[in-house]
Every structure is written in C-alpha cells, then in structure tokens.
C-alpha cells in the first residue's frame, strides 16, 4: 500500500512524533506506516484521515 503520509506531514511541518501524539500511537508506528512496512487498521486509517482532513483514499493508494 502506497501512502502520502510524508508529504501531508511535511505540508504541515509536523514531525513523526507530532503526528503520533495527534493519533495516540507511537512514533515508530507512524514511521512504519510511512515507510510502507505496516498497513494501519481501519480505525487508525480513519484517524489519519481525520487528522489530515482528507479522505482515506487521498492518503492511501493500493500498489499496482
């Protein structure tokens, strides 16, 4: 699963730790999602969408 987390985070000038605090997860969880090593659960994906004010499909795209 590809994602735009790094871009969305950079647009807001948030560190991984900042985003982690907003989501209530650890910094390594944000890092693992961002690098594509871990796909988040649906509740966490909705949490990301809420934090970024975007639809889930604007953040995550399936790999071709």
């Amino acid at each position: 699963m590809k994602n735009r987390l790094r871009v969305l985070r950079a647009e807001r000038d948030w560190s991984q730790a900042d985003l982690a605090v907003r989501l209530g997860v650890s910094r390594q969880t944000v890092n693992a999602i961002e690098t594509g090593r871990y796909d988040p659960s649906l509740p966490l994906a909705f949490g990301l969408a809420r934090v970024f004010g975007a639809a889930i499909e604007e953040i995550f795209q399936p790999e071709p």
Binding site: V21, L23, S26, Q28, T29, Y38
Partner: protein
C-alpha cells in the same frame, strides 16, 4: 487508540503498563523462588508456610499474566502486533522444544531440567520481539 506518548515503540500508557508488568513479574519470580525453596526443604518448613508460599506464587503468576494482557490491550496496534507475533514464535518454539528435546536427551543430549522449555519459550519470544521491531521499523529501531 491509546494516550499520546509517541517516543519509540511505546506510548506513555504502554510504558506504564509494561513497567507494571515487570514489577509483577519480578514479584512472581521471587515468590516462585520462595515456594521452590519451601517445597525443597519441606521437612524443615511448616506445612502451612509451604502451602502459603505456593499459593502466593500462583496468585502472583495469575496477576502477572493479567498485567501482561493489560499491557497488550493498552499498546498501540503495531506494538501489539509485534508482541503477539513474538508470543506465537515463543509458544511454537517452546512447544516443539518440549516435544522434541526429550528425544535428543534419549540420544545423549544433556538434561536441561524442568524449566528448560520455559526458558526456551521466553528466549524465543524475546528474539521474536526483536525480529518484529526489525521487520516493521528497520534494523536497530528502538
């Protein structure tokens, strides 16, 4: 979701719960040692005391398991996944070790005692936890 903390793999809540787990674990280990000593020297220890120490060891073991479950439930989803995979590896290795090592012992391998399987299980779970961190967050992630 969990309370914010956001450093390394642990949220503040996960860190607190893990600390509680370690405290209970240390208590359970000490109680186990006390109970083992009481049973081993039962001829010179009052029966009531030996029974009390063994029951205490059981109670602390149960509380340790409960605190570990609380840690798992309070951990964020990635840490929970890593820990559950580690438990799976630990259980699998421990179960097969307990079945297969007696065959090796029959062939001349040294006796590892009654705690051998438990030690192997815990060691395999620790390796599983390290492997999980490496898998999801890269080498040397903390």
């Amino acid at each position: 979701m969990t309370e914010p903390g956001a450093h390394g793999f642990y949220t503040a809540r996960a860190s607190t719960n893990q600390r509680r787990f370690y405290i209970w674990l240390i208590g359970a280990m000490l109680a186990y040692l006390g109970a083992t000593a009481a049973v081993r020297f039962k001829s010179s220890v009052p029966a009531g005391l030996a029974w009390s120490l063994v029951v205490l060891a059981w109670l602390l073991a149960i509380q340790t398991i409960r605190s570990y479950l609380a840690f798992l439930r309070g951990a964020d989803e990635l840490l929970r996944k890593i820990e559950i995979e580690a438990l799976g590896l630990g259980f699998g290795v421990g179960a097969f070790f307990s079945m297969l090592y007696p065959l090796l012992r029959e062939l001349g391998a040294p006796d590892v005692g009654q705690l051998g399987s438990a030690v192997v299980m815990m060691f395999a779970a620790a390796i599983g936890s390290w492997l999980g961190r490496r898998r999801y967050c890269g080498v040397g992630s903390r």
